[in-house]
Amino acid sequence: MTDGATALSAPVPQGAAFTKPVPEGEPILQIRDLVKHFPLTQGVVVKKQIGAVKAVDGVSFDLRKGETLGIVGESGCGKSTLAKVLMNLEPATSGSVRYKGEEISRLSGAALKAVRRNIQMVFQDPYTSLNPRMTVGDIIGEPYEIHPEVAPKGERRKAVQDLLDVVGLNPEYINRYPHQFSGGQRQRIGIARGLALKPEVIICDEPVSALDVSVQAQVINLLEKLQNEFELSYIFIAHDLSIVRHISDRVGVMYLGKMVEIGSDLEIYDHATHPYTQALLSAVPVPDPAARQVRDRIVLTGDVPSPADPPSGCRFRTRCWKAQERCAIEEPLLAVPSWLDGLAAHESACHFAAEREIEQSAAEREIEQSAAERGAEGGTEAETERAAGQEDGSADGDDAR
């Protein structure tokens, strides 16, 4: 915390403190025990706190330079709140967020503004994230007005047109308004705005959930292209597991404000050890009708408990088929289970973490076989995409208008 204290007292010179280069693969963003509680109050004049919605409750992970960290979980598990806290749009209740080793979660004023240059965001809904009364040129140029040191006045229009070109839009569109674009094009505008300040980290909060499947593929490909071009690190929040697998290097699974499992995409998708992850994965749509029939789906019973009153011990125990007495008493920590090895040995917050080897094998073999027949072994999401591309081929033309 000493670093945090110095960051608080000494004002950070604009943009200078965060220019230190981070080598590829080293942590650029370190999140430790991040907590965000929204107080529940009662009373009109004298507000009394009667509880708190524990939207994010002790989340720790690292984002490494140049990687894409996918964060998945069902609605209401705290994914978007996590993004807002990381962006300093909501103050964290406790915990720390370090960017290149500097504590940034309690910054304000000029220091915060300097951090904002380096961490940007792409929003979920391209229909509400662009001001309907500003032209595209004004929207993408606004970052330069807020941070005049990034581009001198005379070069701003050129910079905006370059950005439009980078995201695959016609630079002539600079005077158009957002409603004159399709959803996919609007999302490209949103991405261009996020890129304007040349950030190193981009937090994508469900950037493709509001788009058509075919347009989703284009936007995902654009994000991948930009990552290579500008050496970006992404935190990619989504609830679509196939897309997260496609774009992510590592994946974190959230449940009720907690990170329950985190690991490389291979570790999570093929060697999941947390029951919740296994249940989530079993619900991924399978594009093959034959394989769909033999797959072993885990259907969770009951609803997600209220984040205002989460269960004791393990938060997933109320819906878990492995739950025992220990789960209600002792909260499992996110750590590598000592009894596992190989790809299964990655961080998982379960007392009984184990791969779902036995139940899965039959179904999986079937899927792999049918996939191999078409020469696309193991590429299930590639399949999905190709199928979607064919299905929506006719709709694609609409995007051009």
Partner: protein, 343 residues
């Protein structure tokens, strides 16, 4: 970090080459390639299909424009704006230089001509006091338009400012401003007028304007507060905050343009009401008093003998209606021009 280099479109594999070693790279890159190519086609289609005139387009064509410039370009071509604008310009000229339109003194009355109908040289006839109705209608424009425009501008300004601040900052400032607005909102306007204006003995247009502003701002404050709260919750405001925008920029660039439409509509309607309110107050004897000439005074004086001499009521009332209509049409045109979606 490399600067924004132009993406090399001739090489769609550039982004797809070194993907995901664990995955079956052949399939992977083929699908990626497909997606990229699809994107390329779309971009080309966009460029060719949508802009047939672009190849010849020079740099001037893409000179950036702002919302207000666009709104002005739009307004200039809107017939409703032109008609209402010309009417308002005309009314303002009448209000400033009434002598240009009549040489008759509105206070120079001849009781022998009381309630006589239109005659040559006196197209609107005479009122009960034998004054020329045409001259009174022309001279009455000043008081009525001054009261209407100033009271509307005042209450819109105060209301938008206080309501906007309450909506933007929320919390305590919201509670205080909203409760104060409620108190003023609860005062019956006629009773309030009778009490306040009978206490003040000076009879001037500005006293009436001030009274209307004091009782009129809560209505606009409520509208403004609601509009600001709606606009504040939009993602584009969050996006601007994420870019590091300060409160001033958020309010002026993002929230105000998106919250101003309902305020304009309500304000233009209120303008008509305020002119009518001035007439009501004058009728009750607490507003303007003769020798001030106003449409309100004339309308209330004429209403007693409408069945005998309808022309006395008709002409000032028509002038009032045309004025109110002109301002409402102007407000409508401005609101539409500020909404790019309607363009």
């Amino acid at each position: 970090m490399p600067d924004q280099e132009k993406y090399n479109r001739s090489d769609p594999m550039a982004g797809a080459g070194d993907e995901d070693e664990e995955m079956q790279s052949a399939v992977e890159s083929r699908t990626l390639d497909l997606g990229t190519m699809e994107g390329e086609t779309l971009i080309k289609a966009e460029r060719l299909g949508d802009h047939p005139e672009t190849p010849a387009a020079g740099e001037e064509r893409v000179a950036p424009r702002s919302l207000w410039q666009d709104a002005w370009r739009d307004l200039r071509r809107n017939p409703i704006f032109i008609i209402s604008g010309l009417l308002i310009v005309f009314l303002v000229i009448v209000a400033i230089w009434p002598g240009l339109f009549t040489s008759t003194n509105p206070l120079n009355c001849d009781l022998t001509k009381s309630q006589q109908g239109p005659t040559s040289g006196h197209p609107f006839g005479y009122d009960t006091q034998g004054c020329d109705v045409y001259a009174r209608t022309i001279y009455g424009a000043r008081a009525s338009i001054t009261v209407g425009v100033c009271a509307t501008a005042g209450s819109a300004l105060v209301g938008t400012l206080l309501g906007g601040l309450a909506g933007f900052f929320g919390g305590w400032s919201d509670s205080v401003i909203s409760r104060v607005a409620d108190i003023f909102f609860g005062i019956p306007i006629l009773l309030g007028g009778l009490v306040f204006l009978s206490v003040i003995t000076i009879r001037s247009i500005w006293i009436v304007v001030a009274f209307i502003v004091v009782l009129g701002w809560p209505q606009l404050a409520r509208i403004g507060r609601g509009a600001v709260i709606t606009a504040k919750q939009q993602d584009y405001v969050t996006a601007a905050r994420a870019l590091g925008a300060g409160s001033g920029r958020l309010m002026l660039r993002h929230i105000l343009p998106n919250a101003v439409a309902p305020i304009i509509v309500v304000a233009t309607i209120a303008l008509g009401t305020y002119i009518a309110l001035e007439a009501t107050l004058s009728y009750l004897g607490v507003g303007l008093k003769p020798p001030t000439v106003s449409w309100g005074i004339d309308i209330s004086a004429a209403s007693d003998s409408f069945s005998i001499a309808p022309h006395m009521l008709l002409f000032p009332a028509a002038a009032l209606s045309i004025t109110v209509l002109a301002f409402i049409m102007l407000g409508d045109a401005v609101r539409d021009a500020l909404d790019p979606k309607l363009r």
